[in-house]
Amino acid sequence: MFNYIIKRLLALIPILIGVAIIVFLIVHLIPGDPAQTMLGERATDQALERLREQMGLNDSLPVQFWRYVKDLLRGDLGRSIMSNNPVSAELMQRFPATLELSFFAIIFAVFVGVPAGIFASMNQNSWFDNLSMLIALIGVSMPIFWLGLMFIWLFAVELGWFPPSSRIGVGLEFTPITNLYVIDSILQFNFTALKNVLHHLVLPAVALGTIPMAIIARMTRSSMLEVLKKDYIRTAYAKGLKRKIVIFKHALKNAMVPIITVVGLQFGVLLGGAVMTETIFSWPGLGKYLVDAIYARDFPIVQGGILFFAGVFVIVNLIVDLSYALVDPRIQYE
């Protein structure tokens, strides 16, 4: 097991090198340059020339690449063109916000999606099955910016149950430490802030979790249906076991592998930052930030961000692979 983890982590290195090269090339091959974007309408030839020189964009591509790799090997991702802040600091500032939102979104998705899928499969073609699969279909195809705006309009403006957006209210005594606000407020025993933070999390987490919830529900249902047709399930019933036991102990455990795969993949995707949800709910996370960086041609941020995301994705996948062994004893990692 331990050796396996080490092996997988070592395999991360070539993946990241590959990603670094590809990202560098893609980023530098897309048309447009950061100096131009930064100066906007004010971009005269002289001003551009001067700015490019200062940013080191006048060097040839191989020279820039060599500099990039050299810095990367020292663990230096460079500095943002927009703000001149180190890339690592910019990313670490925003990743916790994304992590927190993704975590609560996936919790919502799993705790609603899995039971819905199970119930649907138990009563195949019943009204509940049809209804929940219809909801799931709508959920998968729902444009999230629309859903998010509707949530804000209904629950914040009209009903006033939840705050419309942001991570925390104005005027609260609160000092971010880890930038995971839930954890920070617990660490400071600041339960007013904790309540406020959780309150702010509900709408964006549900909006962000809706699509994964729908995907998980559909996957759970089909995976369960397949297992429920197996001979050993019939045997279990024949032995006189109760339906509850058969479903939850015998069927669900075996249906879990594909469900875990889907949950893991969805979580990995969410961690890359959800552009739409973050935009609508003014969530200061990675997704919106990376898209802004692409528009501004902030090369170091885009490179660093994608590299970071690739690393996170690989690690999430590793955790998923390891968790297979927990539900299926036939799977062992040597």
Partner: protein, 520 residues
């Protein structure tokens, strides 16, 4: 008995005075939450170029001279008065005494010199942390036209220029040239942009990147202390979400109001609208290098063919004014005598026929790929222009590129016709006319020697009346040559809760908020 009357009188007086102050006087205190589309990039004003940063640094820093609220006229700020030498090359500023930076260090001539040296000298030890873009832009490179900055005495500083610059004062009033505490810049080095220290009405309390900037009132401000105790600038990227925040009451004011929300604000009892005086122009340019746009009759025909007011009603919710000059009326020297080319398709057709194009022609119309303050919906406005031109028998093919490619290609005169615009920097006519239409700068190969002479003379003239005259003449030349169809000067709307009082938007795009107060 007498005692009772006296007591009653006193009580009455107290009640009266409470009533009077409650109605008349500005109220101290409170937090203003300002919702805007993006976060601040940095808080060192000389290193940034974006409005979201300037909005905040405007509160933290002061400049030597400032714009009078709501205008682009210059008034004293950190400098109380100034003289310029006969030749226009030496400027002497007398500085305000007793001003302190937020860190307690004194503001004086040394501090002013240190700031300017840091900006203009590339070998200065603190010429770090960015590109000093606005310095090199306004003063033409490093060290640019500011040759020397001399400390005359503790509160007098002298600037020696290498050439005359008529808009020099207007330039010094710009937000990027806010004076920073030298000790703070030395202390924080590359991280100064997160730890700004100025002399302004507000002090940075906390900046949560991507989310909000929190400012607290400066108790030692050299003007009167701000009415507000605190300002929170929140980034709320989505326009609709931001407007819903305002409706639900979680923010007090916002900019970037969508045209479709204007009606709801006008009808609301709790909200109000404030229009920023325009300091921009959105235009449609025709490139002289491409036939038939080298023919002035064709260019004038286009000017007659487009109904600007209809475009404004459809895409700006009426919140803009039709342009007849390349610069907005908020800027001094605006030539209001000019008779605009009226919307008249028949006349346009006649002009085209005169030029030999009665059967029309086909060309590429480049439309803006991104929303800009002067043209918020490039594609739709492009389509509107396309349909107006089809009415006079001309076929326009809509073309666009990503923003930076668009800028690059238009800058290199590759576009036959294109939409673009400009937001002024310093409120000087030079910043529109010379920057956009002089033969050395124009993007559409418009090269008028007559105009060039007038514009260059205006740059070297220190006499204000003479300058006004020259710019009036310049606008007349441009009107005759019709290198563009000037489309609009937009007046960006700002939505506020009714209780936000005394907010005066400035044409330059940002304003100090220390005189704003809350009436509840």
């Amino acid at each position: 008995m007498r005692k009772i009357t006296l007591t009653t009188f006193i009580i009455l007086a107290v009640i009266m005075s409470m009533f009077v102050t409650g109605v008349m006087a500005q109220e101290q205190g409170g937090t203003l939450v300002f919702g805007r589309g993006g976060d601040t990039v940095g808080l060192d004003p000389i290193q940034v170029t974006d409005g979201e940063s300037f909005k905040v640094t405007q509160q933290i820093y002061d400049t030597l001279v400032d714009y009078t609220p709501g205008t682009t006229e210059v008034e004293p700020a950190l400098a109380t008065d100034w003289e310029v030498s006969e030749a226009g090359l030496t400027w002497t500023f007398h500085l305000r005494e007793g001003v302190e930076f937020h860190d307690g260090n004194p503001f004086n001539a040394e501090a002013v010199k240190w700031n300017f040296d840091r900006w203009r000298l590339e070998d200065h030890p603190y010429h770090i942390g960015g590109e000093f873009t606005y310095y090199s832009y306004m003063f033409q490179g490093f060290p640019g036209i500011i040759q020397e900055v001399n400390v005359v005495d503790e509160y007098t500083v002298e600037f020696v220029l290498s050439e005359k610059q008529a808009p020099f004062l207007n330039n010094l009033a710009m937000v990027p040239f806010g004076i920073a505490s030298p000790e703070a810049v030395k202390k924080y080095g590359e991280d100064y942009f997160k730890n700004p220290v100025g002399t302004g009405a507000f002090v940075l309390e906390e900046w949560r990147q991507g989310d909000r900037v929190i400012l607290k009132a400066n108790e030692n401000y050299w003007r009167e202390r701000a009415y507000l105790d605190e300002i929170v600038f929140r980034s709320i990227p989505d326009n609709s979400a931001r407007f819903m925040e305002l409706q639900s009451g979680s923010i007090d004011m916002m900019d970037g109001v969508s045209p479709e929300d204007v009606e709801a604000i006008e009808e609301s009892d709790t909200l109000k609208l404030s229009l920023r005086p325009s300091m921009n122009v959105g235009y449609f340019a025709m490139n002289f290098k491409f036939e038939p746009f080298d023919d002035v009759r064709v260019r004038r025909a286009f000017n007659h063919a487009i109904d600007k007011q209809a475009i404004i009603d459809a895409f700006y919710a009426g919140l803009a004014e039709p342009a007849k000059n390349p610069m907005p009326p908020s800027i001094w020297g605006y030539n209001d005598e000019i008779e605009p080319y009226e919307y008249n398709p028949e006349k346009a057709k006649e002009l085209l026929a005169e030029a030999g194009y009665e059967d029309g022609f086909e060309f590429d119309l480049w439309y803006l790929p991104v929303p800009r303050p002067y043209i918020p919906q490039g594609k739709f406005i492009g389509q509107a222009i396309q349909s107006y031109l089809s009415e006079i028998g001309v076929t326009a093919n809509l073309v666009t590129y990503d923003w930076s490619t668009y800028l690059d290609k238009t800058d290199h005169q590759e576009a036959p016709t294109y939409m673009l615009g400009w937001t002024g920097d310093n409120g000087d006519p030079d910043n529109f006319l010379y920057v956009l239409l002089d033969k050395d700068n124009s993007n559409n190969a418009y090269e008028s020697d007559e105009l060039h002479e007038v514009l260059v003379e205006a740059q070297k003239t220190m006499d204000q009346d003479k300058r006004v005259e020259l710019y009036m003449e310049a606008q007349e030349i441009i009107h005759q040559d019709a290198p563009w169809v000037p489309l609009v000067h937009s007046t960006p709307p700002i939505a506020l809760k009714s209780m936000v009082e005394n907010y005066i938007p400035n044409p330059t795009g940002t304003e100090k908020l220390h005189r704003v107060w809350l009436s509840e």
